[in-house]
């Protein structure tokens, strides 16, 4: 059974974000693979290790010149083949999912689709489920433990207040990964060398039936959040500090 892992390239958290034009200024940003997608790639590689005939494909949607770097990272970790759907920065999650769903059919036959539960840049938590919807297959999100069988998997996902849900799903299915599912490996030097020779296919949005005029959500009015007022330091002995703080929380901040 072959696996398709959908990954996204995102700005590194430590990167300073500046505004430019009608969005953010992407010059000087350090790009990384979305951290949750690393769990998805690792999960596919674990499955491949158990069943070596498994082929692991990685797919990304984004401006191809930079997005291929995320694919190279996944290929260096051990994925077999990569594909990039060249798309503008501003493509919305609906159309990203639509493109992935269409591409998944041309790239091969996949029993398992994997992705991170959300991307840390737009924090949307939606592409995996939308891909599943377009393909008419089940989805299970935010999975932190998985046991696989021939026909499906038994998955554990975290729900509210630390409660957990154990879900049985039949393949083909979309699974989105949460932290805790595994520990992603680092790409080895031989892995990096091998990755350079691996195939990266290029697809256009039009190949995937996506029309950019059909964008459902666009982002406007970018602004930097206003600075918080400076901190009020509370001095004194611990007893005094506690007293003052409780007083301030009651009388000034009015939150208690």
């Amino acid at each position: 059974m072959n696996i398709l892992v959908c990954i996204k390239q995102v700005p590194d958290t430590e990167t300073k974000i500046k505004l430019g034009g009608t969005g953010i200024d992407t010059a000087g940003i350090k790009w990384i693979m979305n951290p949750y997608d690393e769990f998805a790639v690792e999960e596919a590689l674990k499955l491949k290790a158990a069943k070596p005939e498994t082929q692991v494909h990685v797919l990304t949607v984004g401006p191809k010149a930079r997005a291929v770097e995320a694919l190279r990272t996944a290929l260096a970790m051990g994925a077999d083949e990569g594909a990039v759907i060249d798309a503008p920065e501003t493509l919305d999650n609906y159309n990203i999912a639509k493109a992935i769903a269409a591409a998944s059919k041309t790239l091969g036959e996949f029993g398992i689709l994997l992705s991170g539960k959300s991307a840390i840049d737009d924090n949307n938590f939606s592409v995996g489920q939308m891909v599943a919807a377009f393909l008419d297959i089940p989805h299970v999100t935010s999975v932190s433990k998985a046991d696989y069988t021939e026909k499906g998997a038994l998955l554990e996902r975290e729900i509210e207040g630390g409660a957990k849900e154990i879900i049985e799903v039949e393949f083909p299915a979309m699974i989105t990964a949460n932290k805790g599912l595994n520990t992603p490996r680092y790409a080895s030097l031989p892995g990096i060398m091998k990755a350079k020779k691996k195939v990266i296919k290029e697809l256009a949005l039009t190949d995937c039936g996506v029309d950019v005029a059909n964008i459902k959500v666009k982002y406007t009015n970018f602004e930097l959040p206003s600075d918080r007022p400076p901190v009020q330091m509370i001095s004194g002995e611990p007893q005094e500090q506690a007293q003052k703080l409780v007083q301030l929380l009651r009388q000034e901040a009015k939150v208690i």
Binding site: Y94, M130, E160, E168, V255
Partner: protein, 320 residues
């Protein structure tokens, strides 16, 4: 005027606070609620105190626990009957799992984790933090979006005004669809506290707590003020507490009225998760800790000494 379908969720036979909040953003529109679960008929009656015109109630033992294909079929039924312009929900685990599917199936866009919402006519704009809260932007739904789906971050909207409404409550028939995804078991947690994402008050601990045994200090304080306990990534990675308690980029995004951070230095990934808390209290030994740059109130000191004193002071105050 827009037609809005609001996902009303309940816990312990009560409408969740995070669901009620949504109704403060829908005033002046045609509002219908959707309630799904087992024994939710009485819960639905509670909607008669709010400006909701209609409620679709799916009451069935099979709907006790969230199941994506069952809940989707309920939404499908309600959407076909009501044809909403906008589907509105709080960013609960169920909503985050389900509503992207709803958006895709009904040819619409989705904006999750929103902190502001503007509805004028059928035009919908949602304010969202992006890039770990370093930027704010408006998600604007275009005309190509046949349905608009918005998930609000809890604690961002005020509670709605109460007042009797003529909410027409209809019990809908649920027929279980064929499904390839089944909930085998739900392992409940022992905590009766609200989830971190919905909590109004959070007490969080970091590496400065020195070991899992000292989290008792945080739990004691949390008990006194009705808070939920959170943690930084470092202590989750060290295995002191489960991942469900992690606040931050690879944990939960929270927005309580009060966030008390004890022994947390304030890495950017942590700030990404708690930066929009209304009031932040930082207790740290290191006066240079970055958390003080974000905090409302700061105490340079030993959390082991401060936390018990705080508990004492809060007890005094709250017992009056």
């Amino acid at each position: 005027m827009a037609k809005i379908l609001v996902f009303i969720e309940s816990a312990n036979n009560k409408i969740k606070k995070s669901s009620l909040e949504l109704l403060s953003a829908t005033t002046g529109n045609e509002v219908a609620a959707i309630l799904i679960g087992d024994n939710v008929s009485t819960v639905a009656q509670g909607l008669k105190n709010y400006p909701v015109q209609k409620a679709f109630v799916f009451n069935n033992a099979a709907l006790k626990d969230y199941n994506s294909s069952y809940y989707f079929s309920c939404f499908e039924q309600a959407i076909k009957k009501f044809s909403p312009d906008l589907v509105l929900a709080s960013g609960s685990m169920a909503a985050k799992d389900l509503l992207p599917r709803v958006a895709a199936k009904f040819d619409g866009g989705i904006a999750g984790d929103c902190v502001g919402l503007k509805i004028s006519g059928t035009k919908v704009e949602a304010r969202r933090p992006l890039y770990s809260g370093k930027v704010l932007a408006t998600a604007e739904f275009t005309d190509a979006s046949k349905i608009k789906v918005v998930l609000m971050r809890p604690n961002q909207l005020p509670q709605p005004a109460e007042g009797a409404s003529n909410c027409e409550i209809t019990e809908e028939t649920f027929t279980a669809p064929a499904t390839k995804v089944r909930v085998k078991e739900v392992v409940k947690s022992s905590s009766a506290k609200p989830d971190l994402t919905e909590a109004g008050v959070i007490v969080s601990g970091g590496r400065g707590m020195k070991g899992p045994e000292h989290f008792k200090l945080l739990e004691d304080l949390a008990e006194t003020i009705g808070a939920t306990v959170g943690a930084s990534r470092a202590v989750v990675d060290a295995g002191w507490v489960p991942h469900a308690m992690q606040v931050g980029q690879t944990g939960k995004t929270v927005a309580p009225n009060l966030y008390i951070a004890a022994g947390i230095s304030g890495a950017i990934q942590h700030m990404a998760g708690m930066g929009s808390s209304k009031v932040i209290v930082a207790i740290n030994k290191d006066p240079e800790a970055p958390i003080f740059k974000k905090a409302t109130y700061g105490i340079v000191g030993d959390a082991f000494e401060i936390l018990p004193k705080l508990k004492e002071e809060f007890s005094k105050l709250l017992s009056h």
